[in-house]
């Protein structure tokens, strides 16, 4: 299929549909709304389920119902809406029904604004709801990655019977660039054997997240933890640029990572031995690769569109071996390449001073 000019939100919607999305439930919120609008047309044309819910609270619980029936289902929202979905996400995690959520993040806290932000890194990567679990979080940095990760999200959700969040900042949702859509997949005919469909000719299935006895609840938690360990081993994904012959590494995800790429190119032109690691999975975080690189370099600079959230994961991965600097913009302000370059230079020069002294 050829490349075409696509807006991020529309591309995600169309990619989900082509991945065999059978049901969508959502509620309008900027900067995500084109996603819902695109599906309101296409899903009905294809005789699939589209429903605009009365709230994000209802939307996520409709998703919970359809996911319990074993179909490919998703919702999409933006920061304040995702806050409202936390309860439902926790029930979904506790019931192990495959679910995809797209979060086109905006500036907060509160009603905030509709500008691109990465201020919900903690919200999506920690648990996205009460209880002891973490969803898989995919962070695209381009419209093409948004498409590819959306398709991958359904496969991962089903493989692990877990929540996958595609977390993009508003920039990815709103911008247009050339990208290629996947071929159309049919909606799957069969349902998994655990699904709620009516117990025709079989024993009844039950989907629940309640375990009254401490030991049973603990056993279930251990089962989830085992699954999460497997995800941690198998699913970290990242993108690397100029990581050979390296003094300093820049780490950034999504739009911040993409702009940092340009800044790293500029720094290399100026003779600084700088490279980029852009996590594509925020959870599982590519901690092993980061820790390997940290063994070989002098310092790390984290760049985010927030006050320093992924920064904590970078520090954990680096483990105090080397200094970790930070450059961030907040509230919907997108950093420019030359600002990041300046931060790189500042950090790099301190490093040189320190190396000269010792």
């Amino acid at each position: 299929m050829a490349k075409e000019m696509l807006k991020g939100n529309v591309a995600i919607a169309e990619a989900a549909l082509r991945a065999g999305l059978e049901a969508y439930f959502g509620y309008p919120i900027t900067p995500q709304t084109e996603l819902l609008e695109h599906l309101s047309k296409r899903m009905i044309e294809l005789d699939r389920v589209f429903l605009q819910a009365e709230s994000e609270v209802a939307a996520v619980n409709m998703v919970y119902g359809a996911a319990s029936a074993g179909v490919r289902v998703m919702s999409s929202s933006s920061s304040p809406g995702v806050s409202l979905m936390q309860e439902g996400l926790s029930y979904i995690a506790g019931s192990e029904v495959p679910t995809v959520l797209v979060d086109i993040m905006r500036g907060g806290p509160g009603l905030g604004n509709i500008l691109p932000s990465q201020g919900d890194y903690f919200q999506v990567t920690r648990s996205a709801g009460h209880g002891d679990y973490r969803p898989i979080v995919l962070a695209p940095a381009s419209v093409q990655e948004a498409i590819d990760f959306t398709v991958m999200a359904f496969d991962l959700a089903e493989k692990y019977r877990h929540i996958v969040i595609v977390a993009a900042d508003g920039q990815i949702g709103q911008m247009m660039e050339p990208a290629e859509l996947p071929p159309m997949r049919e909606v799957r005919k069969e349902r998994p054997d655990w699904a709620l469909t009516g117990a025709e000719g079989r024993d009844p299935n039950v989907i629940t997240s309640i375990y009254l006895k401490g030991e049973e609840m603990e056993a279930f938690n251990l089962k989830i933890q085992e699954k999460l360990s497997e995800i941690r081993r198998s699913e970290p994904r990242w993108y690397e640029f100029q990581t050979e012959d390296l003094d300093m590494l820049v780490v950034g995800f999504g739009t911040a990572g993409r702009i940092a790429y340009t800044a790293v190119e500029m720094a290399r032109e100026r003779g600084m031995k700088v490279g980029l690691l852009r996590p594509q999975t925020l959870w599982p975080f590519p901690e092993e690769r980061l820790s390997q690189l940290a063994d070989e370099i002098e310092s790390v600079l984290v760049v985010e569109m927030n006050a320093g959230q992924m920064l904590e994961d970078v520090r954990l991965a680096v483990g105090g071996q080397i200094p970790v600097g930070f450059y961030g913009r907040m509230g919907g302000v997108v950093p420019m390449p030359d600002e990041i370059l300046e931060a790189i230079e500042g950090h790099y020069n301190r490093l040189t001073v320190r190396t000269v002294r010792t």
Binding site: F25, A58, N61, M62, G65, A66, V71, G88, G198, P204
Partner: protein
């Protein structure tokens, strides 16, 4: 739990049995609680309409949280108040299933009022069994939106003061105003005659759903002897003497399409 012997003694005829749609198990309900009665009515209705293999029960948060264990049908357990939304998701992708939510008055009328109103207004083809016992049972007897004026509960120890806490909510009347509601009735479980009427209403509600006529709800005035601090018998009397005057029994909405089911016999 010790094994239960359900086999009838020899030389005796079976005249009354566990419906197939009920699981062979004990329930955890208090003695004299009417949750057991409403379970049985729903299970009998599934059996009689041949819906056991099509049924999907959405249990809610309240004393009936484990009702999914008591029915021998596909089932799940929704978040507090969200059963109609979960049921919507299930029904939209399983249009041939009989999707039923089973909700208490705290669950449906308080935390879940938005979800049930919107399910009704969409004419969602689901059936809601609404258990109104005028109290929060599971959490130990706090005031519900349906608690009566003056009713003493553990969170209204001086009696429900309507000036401070508002008035009891008549949910079935409220939902009957919505165009998407096809069938909305109130019944009571305080005696055999009324229980039989409640059963008929459950049958009609399920038929409404299976015919795709829209949203159906059967409210059942129920007893909670434990949290009302009464014997089971006193509690049933209280339903009749105190609840029915505030919550009149009757059919609040029977759409023409529903009345015409079975060739109009329901008129």
């Amino acid at each position: 739990m010790s094994a239960i012997n359900f086999a009838p003694p020899e030389n005796m005829e079976v005249v009354y049995e566990r419906p197939e749609s009920l699981a062979e198990t004990h329930t955890h309900y208090c003695p004299g609680c009417t949750h057991g009665v409403s379970h049985r009515l729903l299970a009998e209705a599934f059996d009689e309409l041949g819906l056991r293999e099509k049924a999907i029960l959405v249990a809610s948060v309240g004393c009936s949280v484990f009702s999914y264990k008591y029915f021998d049908v596909d089932s799940c357990e929704a978040a507090h108040g969200r059963a109609p939304a979960m049921a919507t998701g299930l029904k939209r992708v399983n249009p041939d299933a009989a999707v039923v939510t089973y909700q208490g008055d705290g669950d449906l009328a308080s935390i879940g009022i938005a979800e049930v109103i919107h399910a009704a207004t969409r004419g969602e083809n689901i059936t809601v069994i609404f258990i109104n016992n005028a109290i929060y049972g599971m959490t130990g007897g706090q005031m519900a939106p349906t608690s009566l004026p003056g009713q003493k509960t553990n969170s209204s120890p001086f009696g429900r003061n309507v000036e401070m806490t508002g008035y009891p909510m008549r949910v079935t009347e409220l939902l009957s105003q919505l165009d998407g509601t096809a069938y909305a009735v109130r019944r009571s479980l305080h005696d055999a005659k009324n229980i039989r009427k409640a059963k008929k209403a459950v049958l009609t509600a399920l038929q409404t759903q299976m015919a795709g006529l829209g949203f159906s709800i059967v409210e059942m005035l129920s007893s909670c002897p434990t949290n009302w601090g009464m014997t089971p018998e006193e509690a049933l009397d209280w339903v009749e003497s105190e609840m029915i005057p505030y919550y009149p029994l009757g059919d609040y909405k029977v759409a023409d399409s529903v009345a015409n089911l079975d060739g109009g016999k329901r008129r």
